[in-house]
């Protein structure tokens, strides 16, 4: 008989091999699905890779897609370290963009070197305060943060839609309900044809790495995540730590929104995030909340996104295929987690016992 038993903790190396196997299986499975959908799976895979890293331009496109994803994942990581299940990255992203927008539309005449930092400050504050709502509700009434942050996402998106149709509507766009453009001074500077979002994201990686690894606050966050009671017995002010950590989490998600608004669109729209706030939860989880492995995981996801849109233009394969492949790979990786803790063995003893019973 087959039996599932707990296995002793796996060595890093074995863990890595297991994950790799899961990804290999997942790619095989998605190729089968692609074939079933009526496309040549090998060609689709090759084109996806070519479309994402095949030329200098495409690499920069992939990086542009990676930057917001990486930033958002970093943001949720801080909350997850504390076992605060913030799935509100999407909403904090939009509030960040909104905060930046308030500054841009009110102080648009400022020079760029004053305006941009002010916009970042406004956005970080807005994203952080938005994340503070579920934290306060949880601290006061034990309200489920998963559900509150989920709801706040949609409130934030509707708020942006409202601004787009109402107060911030572009009067020059004739009948189109489009938001006003930011002043020129609000554009993120570019280096070598790419906006500096990637530098900001990398700085944030270092910041989070140091915060979690080497700072007192990071230590407190980790202890609180492991066991909130221990933290209290140790005399930590858990309420204060929760609020500060969540402000950081939401603020960083807000930065992602500011980068997209100032670097790419020079405006805000309710589809600015293209759902990356949700993808970020998955990438954060896949990288085991390690800021450094987040860089590679986010890059892989960005490759899939960019490769998917390339497929659409070259092979006339709808970009939705990227969503399907993403889903399949994730299902496999999620399933493989099980085998890091458990193993299936052939239980001889039970076999014999049942035979004895039968006889």
């Amino acid at each position: 008989m087959l039996k599932i038993i707990k296995r002793p903790p796996l060595a890093e190396k074995k863990m890595f091999i297991l994950r790799l196997l899961a990804v290999v299986f997942a790619i095989a499975a998605s190729m089968v699905i692609i074939a079933l959908l009526g496309h040549n799976p090998i060609k689709v895979m090759i084109e996806m890779v070519r479309g994402s890293i095949g030329s200098k331009y495409r690499i920069s496109e992939t990086i542009n897609k990676m930057v917001p994803l990486l930033t958002l994942s970093l943001g949720v990581c801080v909350a997850y370290k504390m076992k605060f299940w913030n799935i509100g990255a999407e909403g904090q992203f939009y509030m960040g963009a909104y905060g930046a927008g308030v500054v841009a539309f009110n102080f648009g005449s400022l020079p760029s070197y004053l305006l941009l930092p002010a916009m970042f400050l406004g956005g970080i504050l807005a994203g952080g305060l938005w994340a503070l709502i579920p934290a306060l509700l949880k601290a006061k009434w034990q309200t489920s943060e998963t559900l509150v942050t989920l709801m706040l996402n949609y409130v934030a998106i509707r708020w942006i839609t409202y601004l787009q149709y109402g107060p911030w509507r572009d009067p020059k766009a004739a009948g189109l309900p489009r938001m006003m453009h930011f002043p020129d001074a609000a554009a993120l500077p570019e280096i070598g044809g790419m906006h500096i979002g990637w530098i900001i994201a990398l700085v944030l990686v270092a910041f989070i790495y140091i915060l979690i690894r080497y700072s007192k606050l990071g230590y407190e966050i980790t202890v609180m995540g492991e066991n909130p009671r221990t933290a209290e017995y140790a005399g930590m002010n858990t309420f204060r730590i929760l609020l500060i950590a969540i402000m950081i989490s939401g603020g960083i998600c807000g930065i992602a929104g500011i980068i997209q608004a100032t670097g790419l669109e020079h405006s805000i729209s309710p589809v600015l995030s293209s759902g990356l706030g949700f993808t970020a939860i998955i990438t954060a989880w896949l990288s085991k909340l390690q800021p450094v492995s987040l860089v590679s995981v986010s890059f892989l996801f960005a490759m899939m996104l960019q490769g998917g849109s390339y497929l659409q233009s070259v092979m006339k394969v709808p970009s939705d295929v990227a969503g399907v492949i993403q889903g399949v790979i994730l299902f496999f990786v999620l399933g493989s987690e099980f085998f890091t803790q458990y193993k299936i063995v052939w239980d001889k003893r039970r076999d014999e016992e049942s035979r004895r019973v039968d006889a």
Partner: protein, 323 residues
Amino acid sequence: MDTGFLVAAAMFLQLAAQCGTPLLFGTLGGILGEKAGNLNLGVEGMMMMGAVTGYYVAAVTGHPILAAFAGGLAGAVGALLYAIITVTFQGNQTVTGLTLTIFGIGISNYVGKECTSMTLPASVREFYAPIVVPGLSKIPLIGKMIFEQSSFVALAIVLAVLIWIYLNKTRIGLNVRMVGENPSAADACGINVNLYKYTHILAGGFLCGLGGTYLSVVYITRWQNDLVAGLGWIAVALVIFAIWNPVRAIFGGYLFGALRSIGLVLQNTQMALFGYEIKLDPQLLDMLPYIMTIIVLVLIGIQKKKEYQPPGWLSRSYYREDR
């Protein structure tokens, strides 16, 4: 009050029920899963899968009941993926649910490319057309809402009541709630925890699939990309708003349906209330379901009443030998 207002109000209520029906299906599906301890954030994905499958089968076969069944089945297939990973392999429920949503939207939009050029045959449209109950549908205000509706709308109501009876008045329903509250206790009582989880997650998926089919085949009556458009997430909210009670879900579904239809009906109209000019912004009205859900969550937290709390073991895995 003049009759013109009454007629408009009656039609508004009728529309609210129609808008609320897909929400009700999704909510019932969510309740079934959550009562068994599984928070499935894949409702949106399962509704998409149901919507595209139901539409495709309806357009190709022209058979209305077969279409509904196929749509439900597609939702259940999505739920099966989720159940395998979260129940058997004990994966993280939040991440798995989100993945199911990404996967469901992707595959449905892909398959749906073929459906954009398809139209629904008359046989399906007539089958699900509103049935006018003679006499009763003339009742002022609520006549049209209750007695001039598609059979699909009635199905949702019947299912809601049946699920309430099932969960609260039957032995098996009690077992389900036990699995959601405390799986190790349930296990000790000889309840097959995983079997219960699987069946209820799958049944929940079936209901979400039905909700999707209703949307594409009965309500919108054509296919378009991202057809479900976030309704699945409102359903996730509604599960809490209804405090895990299927009958309350009817009112919740219709209320949220009404909020959505206010936006459609009163788009940018000015109203005067007690002498104040009020401008109803559909975008701001769209926020209300989510804000109201948060308020309900807070109220649940303040009340601390046992019956109002989420299932005790919600979104946690159960491994037998960890007992």
